[in-house]
């Protein structure tokens, strides 16, 4: 797989030096596997940037997950991650159906990039439905809990 490869940082530096000494402002290179654009920024002192695009990367499915209909009665995930009902395995859930909560009540946590982020109810109400089961991957904005 390595035949059509990737230029090293030294290769990029060398190409930039060549463009710099030429009358050209940019190089746009496309192969079956990648497209590389090396371009000078605006302004006299501006340096160069490298922009890569790779064939076969960028899963389409992930981007689609971001859209969720706004549900005014639902507590939405503040960021994508894994939604947990309890602070740790085996511990009692933060809230259960029927609990009365205030805006600042912690109703769950979303683990994102190894950090635990509390989810607050956001408004006063009563827990009507735990929409998402414990330890489920959720997208940003996905409804987690319905309030009544």
């Amino acid at each position: 797989m390595s035949e059509d490869l990737p230029l090293t940082a030294e290769d990029i530096a060398e190409i930039v030096s060549i463009i710099e000494a030429s009358p050209y402002r940019e190089l746009d290179l496309a192969t079956r596997r990648f497209r590389l654009r090396l371009a000078r920024g605006d302004g006299a002192e501006a340096g160069f940037t490298q922009e890569w695009q790779w064939a076969g990367s960028a899963p389409e499915a992930a981007a689609a997950a971001a859209m969720h209909a706004a549900d005014p009665d639902a507590v939405a995930a503040p960021l994508p991650g894994t939604f947990y009902h309890a602070p740790q395995p085996g511990a009692p859930a933060f809230v259960t159906v029927g609990d009365v909560v205030g805006p600042e009540t912690v109703v769950g946590i979303v683990e994102t990039m190894k950090l635990m982020n509390p989810v607050h109810a956001g408004r006063a109400g009563t827990i009507a439905d735990m929409i998402v089961p414990n330890a489920t991957m959720v997208a940003k904005g996905q409804p987690l809990i319905r309030l009544a």
């Binding site: 990737p6 530096a13 940037t49 695009q53 894994t82 740790q88």
Partner: protein, 444 residues
């Protein structure tokens, strides 16, 4: 001899290892989670195996799955990168039992250095200075230690790393509540609640020494300064440590080599020290028995490929480098571009990268797995890439860093780019030698 190398990691470091291994004629097999199946390292590796779903406990941290994947793909050795299983003695042992090599130190070294208290004891045996403090198995013992060394002090997880389970205590009346938090955090992060006590140095710098050993001899590749941190995690690293007398640097380097020789260290490792910014006295903190995120600044000034050195040592070859052959040149600075929001307490921000224009040109190196359309999954750490500049002097390097950061554009997620621009423009940073209190005191 390594012919087929299994890479048990992801992101920029997986790509970094693949590049060097392929250059050395080694076939690379990358074990990925399903969340990374379309990532750039997966495109670049010669072969790819999906070892499990996104969450790392079921993929990158699952020892049985990783070992089985390496065995089933007939790999001779595993490169663990950093984080995940890189310093896990049980993993190295499972590989040994399966007849697969581990690109890293001996199991005994991993065991000795994984326990921070044992590491402290080994360093003391080797004659290195350590901070006042030590073991405190019970609450009463913690109080006794605290009374001995005074406030402020640090509570640190015995099994620690990455700042988790590490807490500062300013007053005796806070000790109990902070101890509870530190133990809970240590339990959650490492499955071991034990903590120990250490004196807190108010004006401290974080200086580390890159080591290379083959089990018989050991050399150093100079210092790195990593004092600019948030939540005890590094954001900016440079080599060599700036604004420090030559003799102070040499003393730290010699101490690190003493430790490496004492434990017959094999492979690439890093000895971390806390240096008092006022008088340059230094104390051993820990030894990281793996490649570090910030290794490129050392590569820039030494001209060496550290991953290549790791692979050579792991192949059973003795070091061909001697201390006299290491001639550092110029000054290098690395900044970590993370997908997180510095305006919102560095909250991590996974998502999709709409555009990634990284700086390019002489003296600039970018280590990244992120290009336009790249996905930052919510399961792992927030590192998007590292920008490394190398200049003839520190002043030149700071100027290059400012110019490069001005050109850097990442669209789609918030990043630390703006914060790095402010750091690079700060007169104290330009002067060099800032302490670990620099970032909290940075003007907005």
């Amino acid at each position: 001899m390594i012919r087929r190398l299994f890479i048990a990691n992801r992101g920029e470091i997986a790509l970094r290892v693949i590049r060097t291994a392929q250059r050395m004629g080694i076939t690379t097999v990358l074990g990925v989670s399903s969340a990374d199946a379309a990532s750039l390292p997966a495109l670049m590796a010669d072969e790819v195996v999906v070892i499990g779903p996104g969450p790392s406990p079921q993929s990158y941290l699952a020892i049985d799955k990783v070992v089985a994947a390496a065995r089933d793909t007939n790999c001779d050795a595993v490169h663990p990168g950093y984080g995940f299983l890189s310093e896990n003695a049980a993993f190295a042992r499972a590989l040994a039992e399966a007849g697969i090599g581990f690109v890293g130190p001996d199991i005994a070294t991993l065991e000795g250095m994984g326990d921070k208290l044992a590491a402290r004891a080994l360093a003391q045996e080797a004659g290195l200075p350590v901070l006042p403090g030590g073991e405190a198995a019970t609450r009463a013992a913690v109080h006794t230690r605290a009374a001995e060394i005074g406030y402020p002090l640090l509570l640190k997880a015995v099994a620690g790393g990455g700042g988790k389970g590490m807490r500062r205590v300013d007053r005796a009346e806070d000790l109990d509540s902070v101890l509870d938090m530190a133990q809970a955090e240590a339990q959650a992060a490492f499955g071991n609640a034990a903590v120990y006590v250490e004196r807190f140095v108010a004006k401290g710098r974080h200086v580390e020494v890159q080591l290379l050993g083959d089990g018989t001899s050991a050399i150093h590749l100079g210092t790195r300064d990593c004092s600019i941190q948030r939540r005890f995690q590094k954001l900016v690293e440079e080599a060599p440590a700036p604004a420090m007398p030559k003799a102070a640097r040499a003393g730290i380097e010699a101490a690190a080599v003493c430790l490496a020789r004492h434990i017959a260290y094999r492979g690439a490792g890093t000895a971390e020290f806390l240096v008092d910014a006022t008088d340059f006295s230094f104390y051993f903190l820990e030894l990281n028995a793996r490649i570090q995120v910030e290794h490129p600044v050392t590569e820039a000034i030494t001209g060496l490929d550290l991953v290549e050195q790791q692979l050579l040592v792991a192949s059973g070859k003795p070091l061909t480098l001697t201390q006299a052959m290491v001639r550092p040149l110029g000054h290098a600075i690395e900044v970590r571009i993370n997908a997180e929001d510095p305006e919102a307490d560095f909250r991590p921000a996974p998502g999709r990268i709409a555009r990634a224009a990284w700086p390019a040109g002489p003296g600039i190196r970018v280590d990244t797995h992120i290009a336009a359309g790249g996905e930052v999954p919510p399961f792992y750490d927030s590192l998007l890439g590292k920008l490394i500049v190398h200049g003839a002097t520190r002043e030149a390097a700071v100027g290059m860093l400012q110019a490069a950061l001005a050109n850097l554009v990442i669209d789609g997620v918030p990043t630390t780019t703006g914060l790095h621009r402010r750091i690079a423009a700060d007169p104290r940073f330009a002067l060099g030698g800032v302490d670990t209190g620099f970032l909290p005191g940075l003007p907005a």
